[in-house]
Symmetry: C2
Subunit: 323 residues, 2 copies
């Protein structure tokens, strides 16, 4: 007899609750919020062929499914507490499930977040995780907080995930070690949870980069009602990406998607504090531009000359990539 | 240009937050838990062909997708507060989306629950909702609370949803009015949220019936370490179902699935309180059996004679229906 839904949950997705009042196994999980804390909640759905390739290592998929959600908590500066996992599976594949669970639990343990509930069903492969984080009331980093005069920052490097995708698409080839490096960026993003928390009280706004720098920056611009001047030459990129043709670099850096780095703003007089926050958690942070009064995005080259906007469109899951 | 992800969210799935500190539109929603309250969390994923038919009215699908989640909150006695919606769509179909949103919002408004976030993506149709409810600490109705000597109760009528499914499968035909009645039970379940709250402090355990009476009762038996004697003749059924052959009635009542009624236990000396709780919220409640010391389920006929277990298996999404 095939393994059933409840066996599957019991085998791979049940652990004793540590923080939750009640974990997996009842109609609902029960959580006890700490007094004075707000709850940050986010939900992401991953679909095969859209968010990951069918060939991905299940361990990396388990990691990434949780990572993209943790990245949303990071962007608010929240401390991860709990998550639910809903999983549609075409079949019960033990190799897939044990790998997926291994990757997911490893990242969950690294961030002290626990699985408290969810659902499993038969269906086309689909992974939906909802995360819950805590933060002191009023201290969330929001997109709307950016102010003219702020500096614009980003964590880590941009564009490697997109470069890997282009290799998978057959648009270019890379030496094996370079490919493995950018493939890791695509398949194993490291959510900047500690950085987000370190930026509470320092940054004025933050967003996680999932749809591409220009597209996600647009959310801050619209929410905060500000403009931005972005310095192209400052955009942090890996050596692998820096060795690619300029047009490909531009595509990967500006409209790459799947970066899962934090894009944030902070007052210019907190420049040193931002650098210290990054150093305190071991994550490089780079000053990439300026928040301006007014509207719109200008991208300037190393001489300060505006670059033609060209194809700076965020990745939109329905409209497709307008390139 | 096709409607994009953000347009889609803005048009159908964004409303100003009423209770939430921050609703749709940032990396996370922000919620402010009330002091002294616990949070009940549950997540359900609905897949076409498995949880609903492709022919379903989108309004009813929007209703049902939220209803099955509210039913989990009801089973804990929690007060609905907020939910997230993650939606994979094969295409942007305006007729579908407006109908789906209409059904979802109508039920959300009826229960005072608000949409605070989520995700949309292209992919095979999949709906994943996660709900959050509040309840006073320590007052959740759990599966594990049943005690020997308790009475076993159920709300509403059982089996109509399964009867409708059998009609869709072509196993039988019903007169139009009868079919519409059972089809409504299948497509528009009414989550027993008010009843769940009225049962706090009265019931000792509760579960919502989604996989079939026998299967879901098994969860109470295992969690609480008790046995149950179920009176077959007392099981509440509609006139439409009561007119069907005994074998079909048994299948629908015992292993039907998709009932979304509350199955619960309460001490015998609270019999009148249970009836009063049901009356106070206008939901019929029926005493259908007894909780016993020991293990296992016995089903007895009107004369008190045990019926052969036969095919009392809950619906398992992977193992299939073992009938």
């Amino acid at each position: 007899m095939p393994l059933g839904e409840f066996d599957l949950i019991a085998r791979w997705f049940t652990r004793p609750a540590r923080q939750a009042v009640l974990g997996v196994g009842d109609d609902c999980a029960l959580l006890q919020p700490r007094v004075g804390c707000q709850w940050a909640v986010s939900s992401d759905m991953l679909v095969e062929g859209r968010h990951f390739l069918s060939t991905v290592d299940p361990r990396r998929l388990g990691h990434k499914a949780l990572a993209v959600n943790l990245s949303d908590l990071a962007a608010c500066g929240a401390t991860p507490v709990a998550f639910t996992l809903a999983l549609a599976l075409p079949r019960v594949d033990e190799g897939f499930l044990s790998g997926f669970a291994e990757g997911m639990w490893a990242l969950a343990d690294a961030h002290g977040i626990e699985l408290v509930g969810g659902d499993t069903t038969a269906g086309p492969l689909n992974i939906c995780i909802t995360v819950f984080g805590e933060l002191p009331a009023g201290q969330a980093l929001l997109r709307s907080g950016a102010r003219a005069g702020d500096e614009l920052w980003v964590s880590g490097c941009l564009g490697d995930a997109r470069l890997a995708l282009e290799v998978f698409r057959g648009a270019l080839a890379l030496p094996a070690a370079d490919f493995e490096s950018v493939r890791r960026a695509m398949e194993c993003p490291q959510p900047r949870v500690a950085l987000g928390q370190a930026l509470r009280g320092v940054a004025t706004s933050a967003i996680d980069l999932s749809d591409g720098l220009v597209g996600d920056l647009g959310h801050i611009l619209r929410r905060a009602g500000v403009g931005v001047r972005l310095d192209w030459s400052r955009l942090p990129r890996s050596e692998v990406l820096a060795a690619q043709p300029p047009a490909l670099q531009q595509q990967c850096l500006l409209a790459g998607g799947d970066d899962y780095e934090l894009l944030f703003t902070a007052p210019a007089d907190r420049h040193a504090q931002v650098l210290a926050a990054g150093a305190s958690v071991g994550v490089p942070v780079t000053h990439i531009g300026a928040v301006l009064a007014g509207e719109g995005l200008t991208i300037v080259d190393a001489r300060g000359v505006a670059i033609e906007p060209g194809a700076w469109r965020g990745f939109d899951h329905f409209a497709g990539e307008a390139r």
